[in-house]
């Protein structure tokens, strides 16, 4: 299907914009599942739907994102025409740097990019959504419903203040509400993926300029709800939006569950990521490993249980790692004990050290720190 992709890499969905994990990176570049980054899911969904013209909107903190995406060749997006376009903050002589106060504001900032595209439809996605959405099916539904906008949703719990969809039987969105603190349980929760006709979007962006609209959900979706055909698309498979450390921990641990893993990494819709040329992982004579995902390039000499281990991690002799996430190139020294911990990249846990997180909140060790 002929669609232009735009991926938001902002912090708007995050309740903890300044936590240890996202202080130096966007939610879209959060490492996930041992070898992926969050943006791999939205990028791969688009590529699997035959899209080859994708703009990645990065507002701040996008160093690691640019490094990850490179020329786009790992997603087959190093194309002569289109491919990946990084939409970095732009300055114009008359406005200085565009401040980007919301996702709609971002679309206003890059209106020219949207206007220059030739595709009929636009897919907007949040780079921090962990879901393998079948965009081909969603695009088909959008066209079939003759919709103005289609929003992907999943039946997952929403946090306070987050948008909840109320649907008619035919999938049309009747109403939108925001999660109140006392309401618990699962809701039709929007995943930050929208399909819209490109010319309709451009028209609306002019209107948004005139009224200084900045918020995609409130100004674009909600304002048009009564007058336009706005539909929901039910994404059936695994879906999470990482908003908190607990979310991050839980969704990584979900990948130890074979069924959830299969849902997300469905063979028909491959998830692509940056190739690192790591060597296979070496297990020493004394290695003890149980119920863990382990990426390539690791050296495991100690014990690893119920954990997700990224590329290039070293677990030395006698070390015990349990219920933890160790990101790329972390090292756990001899006889160290690590339980309910998230180590960011290049963390060193010294020999004989014990690090333990609370049962409610895992302990996060920031990038490159030594403990």
């Amino acid at each position: 299907m002929n669609a232009l992709g735009l991926i938001f890499c902002d912090h708007y969905s995050s309740n903890l914009p300044n936590n240890e994990l996202t202080r130096s990176r966007t939610p879209a570049s959060l490492p996930f599942g041992g070898r992926f980054r969050a943006i791999d899911f939205s990028l791969s969904s688009m590529v699997n739907a035959g899209m080859s013209d994708i703009g990645v909107i990065c507002k701040e903190n996008y160093g690691s994102l640019i490094d990850h995406l490179g020329s786009g060749e790992d997603w087959d997006l190093n194309r002569r025409n289109g491919g990946i376009t990084l939409l970095t903050p732009l300055a114009r002589p008359e406005t200085k740097i565009w401040p980007i106060r919301g996702r709609l504001d971002a679309l206003r900032a890059y209106k020219q990019f949207i206007a220059d595209a030739r595709q009929e439809l636009v897919v907007l996605a949040f780079g921090g959504t962990i879901a393998n959405i079948d965009l081909e099916a969603m695009l088909e539904e959008h066209v079939k419903n003759d919709a103005f906008v289609t929003l992907a949703y999943s039946n997952i719990p929403a946090y306070t203040g987050e948008m909840i969809l109320h649907l008619q039987e035919d999938g049309r969105i009747e109403n939108i509400s925001y999660q109140r603190e006392e309401e618990a349980g699962r809701h039709y929760f929007a995943l930050g993926t929208y399909i819209v006709n490109r010319l309709d979007l451009l028209d609306f962006l002019d209107k948004a300029d005139n009224n200084d609209y900045t918020n995609l959900n409130r100004d674009f979706v909600q304002r048009n709800l009564a007058s336009c055909r706005i539909y929901g698309y039910h994404h059936q498979g695994y879906a999470r939006i990482i908003r908190t450390i607990e979310d991050y921990f839980a969704s990584n641990m979900d990948m130890l569950n074979p069924e959830l893993k299969m849902e997300l990494f469905d063979a028909e819709h491959p998830v692509y990521t940056k190739v690192k040329d790591s060597v296979p992982t070496l297990y020493d004579y004394h290695a003890i490993v149980e119920n863990s995902l382990i990426a390539d390039g690791c050296v495991i000499k100690g014990s690893v249980k119920n954990s997700v281990i990224f590329r290039g991690v070293v677990v030395e002799e006698g070390a015990v790692v349990e219920d933890s996430i160790l990101m790329q190139k972390s090292t756990v020294g001899k006889n160290a004990q690590v339980c309910r911990v998230i180590t960011d990249k290049n963390v060193v846990i010294n020999e004989e050290t014990e690090v333990r997180g609370a049962s409610s909140l895992p302990f996060v060790i920031g990038k490159g720190k030594k403990v």
Binding site: K261, P280, A287, E290, N291, A295
Partner: protein
């Protein structure tokens, strides 16, 4: 075309007949190695790491797998605007077709390709060795010696020297004699089959050799002795490091086992000398389930291990092993499915094979008394039915089924 100082010509057309079932469907350089590599990754990565950006790959035997694997050369950074990797199969000339008749003839037939780049030097490589080597140092040596040809040599134990092409050189490394597999070797310097030639000279001798009806058109047997006899400057470059010809089932298995031995200097994780490979996408990290014992082994992405025990083994990507199975000193290639309660020892299982529950493949040499011992091999896509036994040294052909007689 911009001039290249040196380009590499990689001889990848060999069948590798001593790898039997493993090369029944692919050329030797395409044979998988070490969990995620193919043999050809070594010379190709060495080229890139040595600053050589133009490589001709000469293919002939069963080239499909190799051609697909090399593709546009992107994994080795050899997708270049100027140069890059070029696949050079034999071609039809005039009304007759012509296969490559020998290593020298293969290069002779591609003189036109080489001249397009107008190089000063040409590096000749083969696709059957596992090693890490900086060819730029060899080129420096070649230049310093003002050599016409330089042959890379490796010191081998003198008692094994009679298995190799032996180079006799003086203290200055100036070669004065070649001996092909001599019964009584005079030196322990074996040729590694890696040559640098000054192109002008090589071109002359390739044409001379081609016009000699007596010649077998081989570098080692014909071209180099001809150059030596004519008084050209031939030098022996001394290489010090791991190098293994993986031309037999035993040596291929051994080279895989060498990766597990920390005392053997074949470090594939050196960030300054990476070995690149073409990767499959959509691979999850490996999943190690419950009650698994895994030691002294290397395991690659997308493997799923559950309730099994794995010792001294090399697993390629996508291998699954069921509960109760025991592997010892096994090399298991991509996407092999191993059922429950299987025993696999001293064996190579080629890609996509299926080993059903309770099958027994290979045995430890010290525990086998049923005849001549050797590595057991299951060819790619073969099925070993439940409870069947594949004896040591037995080979199951690709895509066949081993079942009860």
């Amino acid at each position: 075309m911009k001039r290249k100082e040196m380009l590499a010509m990689l001889l990848a057309g060999g069948q590798g007949s001593r790898l039997y079932v493993l090369t029944q469907e692919m050329a030797k350089p395409a044979v998988p190695f070490g969990g995620k590599y193919r043999i050809i990754d070594f010379p190709l990565s060495n080229c890139t790491n040595s600053g050589i950006d133009t490589v001709g790959v000469l293919t002939q035997y069963r080239p499909l797998e190799l051609h697909t694997y090399i593709g546009n050369g992107q994994p080795w950074d050899l997708d270049r605007m100027q140069g890059g990797v070029h696949i050079l199969p034999p071609y039809v000339s005039g009304s007759t077709g012509e296969w490559y008749a020998g290593t020298a003839n293969a290069i002779y037939q591609n003189i036109q390709f080489i001249e397009k780049y107008d190089p000063e030097y040409v590096l000749i490589l083969s696709g059957d060795h596992v090693y890490k080597m900086d060819y730029s140092q060899m080129l420096d040596f070649h230049k310093a010696k003002k050599a016409d040809a330089t042959i890379a040599t490796l010191q081998v134990p003198i008692e094994e020297a009679s298995r190799f092409g032996i180079i006799n050189a003086d203290a200055d490394d100036h070669i004065y004699e070649f001996e092909e597999k001599p019964a009584h070797p005079k030196s322990d310097r074996a040729s590694m089959g890696i040559y640098i030639f000054t192109w002008e000279k090589l071109r002359k001798y390739l044409i001379e050799d081609e016009n000699d009806p007596q010649s077998s058109k081989d570098f080692g047997k014909d071209v180099l002795p001809r150059m030596l006899a004519a008084g050209e400057r031939l030098f022996a470059y001394c290489f010090d490091g791991y190098w293994k010809d993986v031309g037999t089932i035993e040596s291929l298995w051994e080279a895989n086992m060498d990766l597990l031995n920390p005392h053997i200097p074949l470090n594939l994780s050196d960030p300054d000398w990476r070995i690149y490979a073409r990767h499959d996408h959509n691979l999850m990290p490996q999943y190690i389930g419950r009650n698994v014992r895994v030691g002294e082994s290397i395991v690659t992405e997308n493997c799923t291990l559950d309730g099994c025990s794995l010792w001294y083994s090399v697993l390629f990507s996508g291998v699954t092993i069921g509960a109760g199975s025991v592997l010892n000193s096994a090399v298991v290639m991509q996407d092999v499915k191993i059922g429950k309660n299987c025993t696999i020892k001293y064996a190579i299982i080629a890609s996509d094979a299926v080993i059903e529950d309770g099958a027994v493949i290979g045995a430890e040499p010290e525990h086998y008394h049923g005849g001549e011992w050797g590595i057991a091999v299951v060819g790619s896509g073969a099925v070993v039915k439940a409870g069947q036994v594949v004896r040591p040294k037995e080979m199951i052909k690709p895509k066949t089924v081993k079942e009860a007689d």
